[in-house]
């Protein structure tokens, strides 16, 4: 985080709010990832992956600016995996790639690490 960011009054409050929201967002991401994993149709799987991607996108855009660069990068990697699947040749198959679940698991673990 740049020194200018550190000088913003109220940054601590924003970071706390980010962490509060992160807990809620993490649960939602995990819920969508599990629903995608259990999904029986390509539409169901992709809709859940898209929902998870949208939340990950927000985290990727904010985390670095409030001082959690590593978490932001992890979220970016998850988002990239989901985009690669949704825009890839197997998007019309009712399959949720295991790599995505593994990446999201890493992200959830990183969130838990921050919360502790």
């Amino acid at each position: 985080m740049s020194s200018v960011a550190l000088q913003i009054p109220g940054l601590d409050r924003i970071r706390l709010r980010f962490l509060d929201l992160l807990e809620h967002r993490k649960v939602n991401i995990a819920r969508h990832a599990l629903a995608a994993w259990d999904g029986e149709t390509a539409e169901e799987i992709n809709a859940n992956l898209e929902a998870a991607r949208s939340i990950l996108h927000q985290i990727a855009g904010t985390a670095g600016t409030v001082g959690y660069e590593a978490l932001g990068i992890t979220a970016q990697h998850c988002e990239a995996q989901i985009i690669a699947h949704i825009e890839g040749p197997y998007a019309d198959l009712a399959v949720c790639p295991g790599e995505i679940i593994w990446f999201i698991d890493t992200f959830v673990e990183a969130c838990d690490g921050l919360a502790e």
Binding site: M1, S2, V4, A5, Q7, I8, P9, G10, L11, I14, R17, F18, L21, S54, H57, Q58, A60, G61, T62, A63, G64, T65, V66, E69, G72
Partner: protein, 326 residues
């Protein structure tokens, strides 16, 4: 400066608001969606907001469409619109500038860079306020028809409502964005209106601007099959930047533009036909160029088109000095 920040992420809105209030004592209004932003604009004095910060990825209407809608509002044809987004792919950058964005910041953003960009936008707003104040001054009518108010031939002019034509400052920001993203596979080239000084002197400022717009529209039409952005850089020169993979044949393109200009039959207020024609410079590829080199390539493209236009005029009158017999 009054800024409208639109983002569906409450953390970004809070962060941006806090930062803008701290560094520049700006007034910040926030909206959680594009429709909320448009609603806010419709319910307030149109000039209430002076600068916009748009996220791209938002549910329903995205930030690029929001920029397009803002540009349609009469008071915001030239207001700074800064895209603040995590979308760093070139297609989003291209679409954003084509929709009317004047600058582009990628998240997670660096605060120093953010501060610089906001300062640039503020300077733009202040400079436009000065122009507006001048236009609405009691003596405006006298100034408007006076010689002093003529369009500066050498200065960039903002041309509105022409597909893919953006402000000169936005073009510089766009090119800087390409450099930062290491996306150098584009080509720059330019066209210069031949003898622009004669049009500038003979026509009223408004007529001269109409002429510049007609020529821009003509070039835009001829490039319509390709992805491109264009700006009017002053001195009769139009700078264009196009997508990698297409390297324009400048002589053919120049012929197409001049044919189109001929077919348009552009006339002055007194119905006299003007016969504007352009000369084309060299197409310069931006592959592997650093930020400074990219800006320098823009300068070279501009110079080569201006040189081509001057050379065309010189050869018309210097025919007997070329060593050839008549």
């Amino acid at each position: 400066m009054r800024i409208l920040a639109t983002d569906d992420d409450p953390i970004i809105l809070e962060l941006v608001s806090q930062f803008l209030i701290t560094v520049g004592q700006h007034d910040v209004v926030t909206a959680k969606s594009a429709s909320e932003a448009l609603d806010l604009l419709s319910k307030n004095d149109p000039a209430y907001i002076e600068c916009f910060l748009n996220d791209i990825q938002m549910p329903q209407m995205d930030g690029i469409e929001l920029a397009r809608q803002i540009r349609k509002l009469p008071n915001h044809a030239t207001s700074p619109i800064i895209m603040l987004t995590a979308m760093s792919e070139k297609r989003y950058i291209d679409d954003a500038f084509a929709a009317g964005a004047s600058d582009y910041i990628t998240k997670p953003f660096d605060m120093i860079e953010f501060k610089t960009r906001i300062s640039m936008a503020e300077q733009l707003v202040l400079s436009r306020k000065t122009v507006t104040a001048k236009l609405f001054a009691p003596s405006a009518l006298k100034i408007a028809v006076g010689k002093d108010d003529a369009v500066d031939l050498h200065a960039p002019v903002e041309l509105n409502d022409i597909d893919n034509v953006i402000a000169c400052s936005a073009m510089e920001n766009y090119v800087a964005q390409l450099s930062r993203s290491s996306l150098f596979g584009s080509t720059v080239f330019a066209f210069t209106l031949r003898k622009p000084e004669t049009y500038c002197e003979a026509l009223s400022p408004a007529e001269f601007k109409f002429l510049l717009e007609d020529v821009a529209e003509c070039i835009s039409d001829c490039l319509a099959d390709h992805q491109f952005l264009m700006t009017y850089a002053g001195n009769g020169t139009y700078l264009c930047i196009t997508e990698s993979g297409w390297r324009p044949e400048m002589s053919k393109l120049m012929a197409a533009v001049n044919l189109h200009l001929n077919q348009m039959k552009i006339v002055s207020n007194t119905s006299a036909e003007l016969y504007p024609r352009v000369s084309a410079g060299n197409a310069i590829r931006l592959v592997w160029k650093s930020n400074d080199q990219v800006l320098s390539a823009l300068g070279k493209a501009q110079t080569s088109a201006e040189h081509a236009a001057a050379e065309f005029e010189r050869l018309k009158s210097d025919f007997f000095h070329t060593g050839r017999l008549a």
